[in-house]
């Protein structure tokens, strides 16, 4: 699997890291070439060094560039040990056990890998993450939305983004420009909360309704998240489905199981709209989309209130009748 060339490259990367880590001062580029790339032409050295330096950086190694002294403009490089090393972290056995469980949570390849990598570093720092002794319910986090990764990054780097968004499944997509503040999961779906720069207002976006790619719309760190912002409360305030109101229904006995399990008031065996007594009165809470859901039960469900919802159902059923004629 690892060809000799590959392990030689690993050796060079690690030796470069050690070289820059143990020096107190910036190491001149020329010295790096002499020690680690003795056989490479200047051109080959420049290319390899540039690439390998970036590979170390992408691992999270903080390589600093600086000038050696005022009279010599050759750049030098170093890694400061205090910025390189994980700070001391002392976890109690029960805390470590909880942290060990975190590796099982993500059902998202990249973040599952990132969690495993984080755990490996903690283990290396002396944390013993034995989760077998702990009794805790299993939790899984999924993130299937293609836009999730982009918003995850944009939120943390404070990068403005542009994307094409459909407000409803039936709507045409429109181009939106947003400064993302946060990402929130709600009933199994991820939402982004942020500042819509076109509308100059807070907005919530369901990530599954983003069409196509999410592109950067400015450099990282180009805005601040307003102090005191709580992404969850913004999402709850703005998401249309979050505005719920009580709905009183008559449901035919033996049907409406999907509604019954969350009904918070049941008055059994009341006369129904058909004059029969095989109906139950239920109260549920619903936001927009209630008419779609309740219509799907057909003649098994009758809406008593609110009147607006009842009227919408009647109007839609009358349109079906007219359409047929």
């Amino acid at each position: 699997m690892s060809a000799p060339a590959n392990s030689r490259k690993s050796e060079r990367l690690l030796n470069l890291l050690i070289m820059l880590l143990v020096q107190r001062h910036f190491v001149p580029k020329q010295r790096i070439r002499e020690i680690l790339y003795p056989d490479a032409s200047l051109d080959a050295f420049e290319k390899m060094f540039e690439r390998e330096k970036e590979e170390l950086r992408s691992l999270g190694v903080p390589i600093e560039v600086g000038s050696l002294d005022a009279f010599f403009d050759e750049p030098g490089y170093r890694i400061r040990p205090d910025e390189f090393a994980l700070p001391e972290i002392a976890l109690e056995p029960d805390e470590a056990a909880v942290v060990g469980l975190a590796t099982k949570v993500w059902e998202h390849a990249r973040l599952a890998d990132a969690t495993t990598d984080a755990l490996r570093k903690l283990t290396a720092a002396g944390v013993e993450t034995d989760a077998s002794a702990l009794q805790i319910a299993e939790t899984r986090l999924t993130a299937d939305e293609p836009a999730f990764d982009d918003f995850w990054e944009a939120t943390q780097q404070r990068t403005p983004v542009a994307f094409s968004y459909r407000r409803g499944v039936a709507d045409q997509p429109t181009l939106r420009h947003v400064q993302p503040w946060g990402v929130v999961r709600y009933s199994g779906r991820w939402y982004a909360v942020g500042w819509d720069t076109d509308r100059a207002a807070e907005r919530v976006f369901r990530l599954s309704r983003i069409d196509g790619p999410v592109t950067s719309d400015g450099p990282p760190g180009s805005y601040e998240v307003p102090a005191g912002t709580d992404a969850r409360s913004v999402a709850q305030r703005l998401a249309p489905s979050a505005q719920r109101e009580p709905v009183v229904l008559l449901v035919r006995q033996g049907s409406g199981h999907g509604l019954r399990r969350e009904a918070n008031l049941v008055q059994p065996t009341v006369p129904g709209p058909d004059g029969q007594r095989e109906w139950d009165r239920l109260e549920i809470h619903r936001g927009s989309g209630a008419a779609d859901e309740l219509l799907s039960y057909g003649a098994s469900v009758f809406v008593e209130s609110p009147a607006r919802l009842r009227d919408e159902i009647v109007r839609r059923l009358r349109l079906v009748r007219e359409h047929v004629r």
Binding site: M1, S2, S7, K9, E11, L14, N15, I18, I35, L36, E55, G60, P81, L86, P87, I89, L91, A102, E107, L111, A112, D113, T115, D117, A118, L119, R120, K121, T123, A124, A125, L134, I136, A137, T139, R140, L141, D144, W152, T155, V169, A170, W181, G182, V184, A231, R232, S255, G256, G258, G272, P273, D274, D292, L295, G298, F302, D311, L317, V320
Partner: protein
């Protein structure tokens, strides 16, 4: 942001930056123990250690190199396959690293690692019981401090709440899968608005499109079925062993599966409000008609499912063919409307 291939030099360096401090912290460690703790296979661990032999301070003298103490490294054939076997034959191989004090601490967490870990812990906290929540909070506090001085990683990433009942159901089902025991489910089938009891042989817990499912062999249907976890009202793990043998299903094509032999072809007309239907459900064909009307052909295995879909869409969808289904939908809509028009409750 794709990860490089597992054999890449970059990944090897990342593993070494954990392996060296791990061994430095603990002194002498059994090879197998290190492999387990770091999640690196023994054969790979040996290869990684060999790289370390050639690393050290930039002086070029033997004293500058990292000392790697590993008996299995020497006297074994250079062949990959034999290495793994050799390690297996000598489970008590001890590894030790010295002369590497400058790598005593692991590399700090990257922003992605820190936030992935912290958000995972927040998700665990949301479904933890009252005794566990303070433990999770203590761990979160220490990690947030260690992960990033000054900045709060993943401050605004909120994984939400997995209801505790659902998390407990998951635990019970995964225990049943591990023990190969049958489970009795009380399950609500929304497409038919039915609640029923059934015995299943659980196979796996899977997640797709934002929902969690139990993949199982259903003895009521005598067929494989997916059960959405939030629609399982009750699950009792039985004493009886599972009787079917199945591999977890491949969900790469989505969760819709249909017995095409028993399904019938239905043609629907859709006005723009219902144009999302062919994007959401698998359809046989889509045709554009005049006035923004879309005509779709789809295979329907369950007429009741179709009727509920048509009612949900009303009046944006009509049945073009077959006529019997059009009649059925019309009479259901009419019967529903009669409830309102004939009732004593005022309608506008």
């Amino acid at each position: 942001m794709s990860r490089p291939a597992a054999g890449g030099a970059k990944d090897q360096v990342a593993r070494l930056l954990a392996l060296v401090p791990y061994l430095h912290q603990r002194g002498a460690v059994e090879l197998e123990v290190a492999s387990q703790a770091l999640g690196v296979p023994v054969a790979q661990l040996i290869k990684d250690l060999k790289v370390l032999l050639m690393c050290g301070l930039p002086g070029g003298f033997p004293d500058d190199l990292i000392d790697v103490d590993l008996d299995v490294l020497f006297g074994e054939p250079e062949d990959d396959a034999d290495e793994a076997t050799a390690a297996h034959d000598q489970p008590k191989s001890i590894i030790r690293v010295s002369n590497a004090d400058y790598l005593a601490r692991p590399l700090r967490l990257t922003a992605t690692e820190a936030s992935a870990l912290i958000v995972a812990l927040r998700a665990l906290r949301a479904s933890a019981d009252a005794d566990t929540v303070p433990i999770v909070d203590r761990a979160l506090g220490k990690l947030e401090t260690a992960a990033a001085e000054g900045s709060a990683p993943a401050a605004q990433i909120d994984p939400g709440v997995t209801p505790q009942a659902l998390a407990q159901l998951r635990s019970r089902l995964s225990a049943a899968i591990a023990a190969t025991k049958q489970v009795k489910l009380t399950y609500w089938v929304p497409s038919r608005d039915e609640e029923s009891e059934r015995v299943v042989d659980p196979v796996a817990l899977v997640a797709t499109q934002g929902f969690d499912y139990l993949d199982a062999w259903c003895h009521l249907a005598e067929a494989p079925r997916l059960f959405r976890l939030d629609r399982i009202h009750q699950a009792t793990v039985l004493e009886s062993e599972v009787v079917s043998q199945r591999r977890p299903r491949d969900l790469t094509d989505g969760i819709f599966s249909l017995n095409r032999a028993s399904a019938s072809l239905v043609t629907l007309g859709l006005t723009p409000e219902a144009h999302w239907v062919p994007e959401y459900y698998p359809v046989e064909s889509v045709r554009k008609r005049a006035n923004g009307l879309l005509e779709i052909d789809l295979l329907v295995g369950d007429e009741q499912w179709l009727e509920r879909l048509l009612l949900r869409l009303a009046p944006a969808a009509t049945v073009v063919a077959p006529a019997a289904l059009a009649d059925r939908f019309r009479s259901t809509a009419e019967a529903t409307l009669t409830l309102y028009e004939g009732s004593t409750v005022e309608t506008a």
